[in-house]
Subunit: 341 residues, 2 copies
């Protein structure tokens, strides 16, 4: 790849090169990149806004994450937060802090990933800030989305007897990360050994190129299911259940044998002598949707693909517990914060 | 000051401690901190959105910037961008990346500064992300504001013969920075020598605790002046004029003897053998408002305090120039980007 020093094209040249292939797709975007602020017009819709800060060495490791994938994932994790409110992402703002080791072409790779995500999910790039950094790469993305009045779903609406549902499967992204970390260590000691990724494409994709569950939001809407509470699974099932239950002032029971696990994740866990249920509970980065719904919606939920019912909401007094395969109850603990010290 | 390790209070404890004293002030804030996204309701107003990324060692130096001032300034620079659209800032989202050397009390100091700025300017804290970093402190702030339809002012509306106006004075923040840098070098070689800041309080305040010009926006509105183009002075007068002229497809003449300079900045420049006009043109961080207005508004502009008329807009062919004290013309160059390599 070419290596053009950022200093050679200047601030305006760089911004132009990075943002030129982002045509505006949404009518709510009145003015995008190029002024002190972007101008959005949400009219009778509510505005949803979320942000994520990604730091090299903490949230990503460039020894095995391609820059294009990093850009894609950085956008997706923000879209996922908007879907978790039952909204639709519409705009993003991207700030980069870059050290001298990054070239213009490197930044274009990151933006290529962001563009791919924006095109797939119908989101406009409307601004940002690009700056030098002393060390490493910093990516800060803010996403703005729209929600219909009365349709926005918070974390605090779960009620006793509600069903607990989750989309897709859990733990695969974490097992993908374990695999990448293992192969990194192998590579360090034996650079000539090619990594062994045979039959592990799914868990790698879950870690390196996750998707946000727009399809689930669309299908819930089509089937007239409005979740009572919802959150996306970024820190792991346990932590997300804790958020919903604390904010809704309820407890829950989830069933070990109902937790959706992919075959590749199960095989990988076996190979690494790792408990796959622990990976699902505490691994994070699955970006699936965890939601609660009224038991009256049970029949409708059965009609929607890629949703599993994994438990139910109880009174707060009963606490949060996992019910094991022999019927034993194991208390769930709040996890998360895995990236802060 | 106490030093509580962040790890001892956990993610939720930290977020609670940092965000607990931010009561909601705006009706447009429907849901602030505590869900996947904040929910805002701008109804018939336009939504303005801007962001700034601040990195330790590039944008600030903690050897002389107190954390509280840093938090204040980080908020203010974002408010300033919203005022520069002729809007009102309403919400901010704050993301911090912090290395292990920072304690809970350190972060509380940053938030105390942010809170002060939010209280003074009527802005709500509605979300954010706090994460570990490997090196130094990263602050990413996104600000959301509201603008009235037909009242939003862009950079591209300047027309031939428009007056060029600027609020306050220019170059003081830059001379404040030069003073701090000088005293830092003195301190390194002679730690016992107390810094000499006598009679330099104004330029220090301009650098360490700048304000955003809400008063100017309010006074323009009260006097029925709608600028034709506007930008805030973050990179220096020269760079901001370049933005307005390029986007409006016009040129300009500004007059050296009209550029507003504070006495302290002039004295400091003399003392350091520095050209104060250069500081005003290229120094940046003044956070004053630079705007153009129709010549028909001349009488109204004279009634508004703290605004100076420094020149006028010409056709694009005439280019951008500073007219010196002897009438000589000096071409202006695009500067800025001082923080990227």
């Amino acid at each position: 790849m070419e290596h053009t020093e950022i200093s050679t094209i200047g601030e305006f040249g760089l911004i132009k090169r990075l943002t030129q292939n982002f045509p505006i797709k949404n009518i709510s975007t009145e003015k995008g990149v190029g002024d002190d602020a972007a101008v959005l017009n949400y009219k009778d819709k509510k505005t949803l806004i979320t942000t994520d800060l990604l730091l090299e060495g903490v949230h990503f490791d460039l020894t095995y994450v391609p820059l294009r994938h990093l850009g894609y994932k950085a956008a997706i994790v923000n879209f996922s937060d908007i879907y978790a409110m039952n909204g639709q992402p519409k705009q993003i703002i991207v700030s980069l802090g870059v050290s001298k080791r990054f070239s213009v072409e490197n930044l274009e790779e990151i933006y290529a990933g962001i563009r791919l995500a924006c095109n797939k999910y119908g989101v406009d790039l409307v601004g940002g800030d690009t700056s030098a950094s002393l060390n490493g790469l910093t990516i800060s993305i803010t996403c703005i989305g729209e929600g219909e009045d009365e349709q926005i779903v918070y974390r605090n609406g779960a009620r006793e007897n509600d069903l607990i549902c989750v989309s897709g499967d859990l733990g695969s992204a974490y097992m993908g990360l374990q695999l990448l970390e293992r192969e990194k260590i192998v590579f360090k000691s034996s650079p000539d050994v090619q990594p062994d990724f045979e039959g592990k494409d799914y868990i790698l994709q879950r870690q390196l190129k996750p998707e946000a569950r727009r399809d689930i939001i669309d299908n819930l809407h089509k089937n007239n299911v409005l979740p009572t509470a919802m959150i996306d699974v970024s820190d792991g099932l346990s932590s997300e259940l804790f958020h919903i239950c604390t904010q809704s002032n309820v407890g829950c029971r989830i069933f070990e044998d109902k937790i959706p696990i992919s075959e590749q994740a199960a095989v990988m866990a076996e190979e690494m002598n790792f408990n796959i249920v622990t990976a699902a509970l505490n691994g994070g980065e699955d970006y699936e949707l965890l939601f609660t719904a009224s038991i009256n919606d049970y029949e409708k939920l059965l009609k929607i693909d890629n949703i599993g019912i994994i438990g139910h909401i109880t009174t707060a007094e009963k606490g949060l517990a996992l019910v094991g395969r022999q019927g034993e109850e194991i208390s769930l603990k709040a996890q998360g914060w895995n990236s802060l010290h």
